[in-house]
């Protein structure tokens, strides 16, 4: 059988400043008709670059220096721009990571859907509209007849991701590149999208390259898996072999990340005053009520994980605790004392005691300020240290987060990696010497190995400094790793709370059950079994609707 795509010894370089540095070092890849290949690796491994190169496409500032890319006998590297344009969209399609960003905000979904078929002369607009509606139906989008006539901002993220898959299918291509299509989605939404993608790829016998950093996801989707590390190919094998017997050490470490779990702490003795006590808090944005009667306690030295899908009120609860959003009713107590609702009415000491670490370390650090100043500012503001004392304290803090002060004190955030930036965020929170830290999805933008490092650091700091954490996350693996207690939220309400070991043992609240069962597992049959269990039409939305 001749290959649909054949990449041989491909070298790709990227330009930074004035020099070209390697991104892909001699990758080879072969994909047959109707086959799904999983490309896996951390960010910066060159997965997306390789995926795009399979379409004969390079981003600005990236060039192919050597090697060949053949698609169905056509040399994509030497093909003219017009020849490639004729293939793109028509025979090779692309599904991007963030459908919300990759749909043009100025046009309706159906207009973007029909653009490919009409411009490539595959179908008339009317035919393509009908076909689009049919694809929406097959991808189990709600209201397939009318959803296409909405603008992207009027459709939810999971639905947009399916609409983008439909758009990729619009010309019935031979090959689709899926570039992390579910990374930005909640676990419950992810399942629907995964199932839809898998079905439609099977129905039309489309070949696919599925790019992801999530092993459990790729296990469900791919026939074969290829592992990349910093532009080098690590190994390739069929999915079952790869999962059962990874050969290379790097692959094994990827597989092992999920094993980190803190030992269970003894129960808090009754009558102890919690560090933070959220009591019957309700809150609203304008007229829209977003929190309903939320209550939970966080004790000294403990981690309370708040889990739920996006929009469930996790971050809003954090905003209430910090006083950024004064609740409409209810009280926040700190060490048994009620806190003023608005942060403006809190004194410096009350402000100091509760600190935050943010999801996007990139945007949470001032890009024009050196590390020394970023950490030094709260040291000066809260602790009143200046000059040499301030510097010494900042150096201690850098030491605490395992970054050598001599090397990092004068650097700018742009000179650090994602994980290092997040460590700076932690040091900045520690600078105020708080008792309580809110961690808002602090590991979700990081690769698994790096995320594990951050979790271990947070765990050590908690033991050393008796810190209490409120850990906001949608990732249940993180919960398993670090939490002592779990609060499950849905639509602004607490649906279940309790010690971690209780939460991971049935029986659960049905919503907790849905969340737990939606976390992909490293078993290639997991998705199939789960869909059978839930009944094919009963995935995601439907399952949630049933419960509420």
């Amino acid at each position: 059988m001749s290959a649909l795509v054949e990449i041989r010894d491909l070298w790709i370089e990227g330009r930074s400043d004035e020099t070209w540095s390697p991104i892909i070092n001699g990758a080879s890849l072969r994909l047959n008709k109707g086959e799904v290949l999983g490309l896996i690796g951390e960010s910066g491994a060159g997965k997306s670059t390789l995926g795009l190169a399979a379409m004969g496409f390079t981003r600005d500032g990236v060039r192919i220096s050597k090697g060949s890319v053949m698609f169905d006998g056509i040399d994509l590297i030497n093909a003219s721009a017009a020849k490639k344009r004729d293939l793109l969209g028509k025979r090779i399609a692309y599904v991007a990571q963030s459908a919300a960003a990759s749909f043009n905000p100025a046009h309706k979904l159906i207009d973007q859907h029909t653009e490919g078929p009409v411009q490539h002369g595959v179908m008339s607009r009317a035919e393509s509209v009908q076909d689009g509606i049919e694809l929406y139906r097959r991808l189990r989008l709600p209201n397939p007849e009318e959803i296409g006539f909405r603008y992207p901002h009027q459709v939810s993220g999971g639905q947009l991701q399916r609409a983008m898959t439909a758009m990729a299918m619009s010309c019935r291509p031979d090959l689709i590149i899926f570039d992390e299509p579910t990374t930005a989605l909640d676990v419950t939404t992810q399942i629907e999208v995964l199932a839809s993608i898998r079905d439609i790829v099977e129905q039309f016998d489309t070949a696919a390259i599925y790019i992801t950093h999530d092993l459990a996801v790729v296990a469900q989707m791919a026939d074969r898996i290829k592992v990349l590390l910093k532009g080098d190919e690590v190994e390739e094998a069929d999915t079952r072999t790869m999962l059962a017997q990874p050969k290379e050490d790097y692959t094994k470490t990827l597989w092992a990340v999920r094993a980190f779990e803190r030992p269970q702490k003894p129960a808090v003795h009754t009558g102890a005053t919690p560090v933070v006590s959220v009591q019957n808090v309700s809150a609203a944005y304008g007229k829209i009520q977003v929190l309903h009667d939320v209550s939970f306690d966080i004790h000294e030295g403990r981690t309370v994980a708040v889990v739920g899908e996006s929009g469930s009120g996790k971050s809003t609860t954090a905003r209430c605790i910090t006083g950024l959003l004064p609740p409409t009713s209810g009280v926040i107590e700190f060490d048994g004392q009620p806190l003023p609702a608005n942060y403006k009415s809190r004194n410096k000491d009350q402000l100091r005691q509760a600190q935050m670490i943010y999801q996007m370390a990139d945007t949470a650090l001032n890009p024009r300020t050196t590390i020394g100043d970023i950490i030094g500012r709260p040291v000066q503001f809260y602790m009143g240290l200046t000059g040499k004392q301030r510097r010494r304290r900042v150096e201690e803090l850098l030491d605490e987060i395992e970054l050598p002060a001599a090397q990092y004190y004068d650097r700018l955030p742009s000179e650090l990696s994602g994980g290092q930036k997040q460590r700076i965020g932690i040091a900045r929170a520690l600078a105020a010497e708080p008792k309580f830290i809110i961690c808002d999805e602090v590991t979700s933008a990081l690769d698994q190995l790096v995320a594990e490092g951050i979790l271990k650091l947070l765990a050590r700091l908690q033991d050393d400094l008796k810190l209490s954490y409120m850990f906001i996350t949608h990732d249940l693996a993180t919960v398993k790793a670090i939490a002592d207690e779990v609060v499950v939220m849905k639509e602004g309400k607490v649906v279940e709370q309790g010690p971690k070991h209780d939460m991971f043992v049935p029986p659960h609240h049905p919503y907790t059950d849905l969340l737990l069962s939606s976390v992909p597992e490293m078993d290639p049959d997991w998705l199939t079994n789960l869909l059978n269990e839930r009944g094919v039409d009963n995935i995601g939305d439907a399952a949630v609707d049933k419960m509420s």
């Binding site: 793109l88 399609a93 991007a96 411009q119 603008y151």
Partner: protein, 331 residues
């Protein structure tokens, strides 16, 4: 849709408030002008009695606050007052004809001419700038892009009168295609008017094109790194289609704002070009009125200029809002 109407009403109210503040500033500034109309018209040898009489007749003896509210009250009812310069002071020699020219009568034809010139210029400059901007974005960093940038920057950096004389030299003197004098008057046919207006309009086009063209180019290029542009390219769309269909609709807001600013400039700032071509627009009237301290006309002109700026910016705001589907179609 209701939210859009509310936003528009809010902007309108803010615009009116701005206009009110501007009217105070105008009145104060004009009254701080050195010199006095009565003194200026009667000359050095005037008797104090004659000066007082004229001042009294024009209401200049009233305290400034009273005069401001009289002026504002009149302006609100559409009465901008009477021109000092055209007033018939014959009454002081006992032969009052009773005829006085109102400010409105004086300004109306001049303002119409200015609007005509601005409209002709806009009809040339806006499409040219947009097309040049789109092409420059499409062929960015090419020879065409650089040539367009250099040419438009040169023309915006040159003094307006210089551009005007260069155009006169080439289009009226060396190749007599267009008239070098734009003395238009009532009763001219539209075609004649247009012909006479073409040279000043071309001069102004050279002045305003650079801004709009460069903003169009920059706003489009700014978006070319967006994921949805990459998506369009990965769908195999042609570069032209990517820019016109995918980038331009999302780049409209900044472009509209720059167009509005330039249109406002065309209404308020073209006095040099008017003088060069002897075009009877409002700019010349304004300068003349300042010279002879004809306060009601100066104030009225300032008010019209301010209103033009506010109105055009308001229009730009509204169009920007309408170009954004998030605001047009809320969830």
């Amino acid at each position: 849709m209701h939210s859009i109407i509310r936003i528009i009403l809010q902007r309108l109210a803010l615009g009116l408030l701005t206009l009110f503040v501007v009217s105070v500033v105008i009145f104060t500034a004009v009254n701080m002008l050195p010199g006095d109309f009565a003194q200026a018209i009667l000359g050095q040898g005037a008797t104090p009695e004659a000066v007082d009489a004229i001042r009294k007749d024009l209401g200049l003896d009233q305290p400034p606050v009273t005069r401001y509210f009289q002026w504002l009250g009149g302006a609100l009812q559409g009465d901008l007052g009477n021109s000092f310069a055209q007033a018939n002071f014959a009454s002081f020699v006992g032969a009052d004809s009773g005829v006085r020219t109102t400010v409105a009568q004086q300004i109306a034809p001049r303002f119409a001419n200015t609007m005509f010139l601005a409209a002709v210029t806009a009809c040339i400059a806006v499409p040219v700038s947009l097309v040049l901007g789109i092409l420059a974005a499409l062929f960015r960093n090419s020879v065409f892009d650089r040539a367009t940038n250099v040419t438009t920057l040169t023309s915006i950096s040159s003094p307006e009168f210089f551009l005007a004389y260069v155009l006169i030299l080439f289009l009226a003197v060396l190749n007599p295609m267009l008239p070098s004098l734009s003395n238009i008057f009532e009763g001219m046919s539209f075609g004649e008017r247009l012909e006479k207006t073409l040279l000043p309009a071309l001069t102004l086009t050279l002045v305003v094109t650079a801004h709009m063209m460069r903003m169009t180019r920059a706003a489009i290029i700014n978006l070319l790194a967006s994921p949805y542009i990459e998506m369009a390219r990965l769908k195999g769309m042609s570069p032209m289609r990517v820019i016109v269909k995918h980038a331009l609709p999302n780049a409209l807001a900044p472009i509209i704002n720059v167009i509005a600013l330039n249109l406002a400039y065309l209404i308020t700032g073209v006095v040099v070009v008017e003088v060069v071509f002897v075009y009877p627009g409002i700019g010349q009237l304004f300068v003349d009125s300042v010279k002879i301290r004809d306060i009601p006309v100066v104030q009225a002109c300032c008010l019209i200029f301010a209103a033009a700026y506010i109105l055009l910016n308001l229009l730009a705001d509204i169009l920007s809002i309408l170009s954004n589907p998030r605001l047009r179609h809320p969830k």
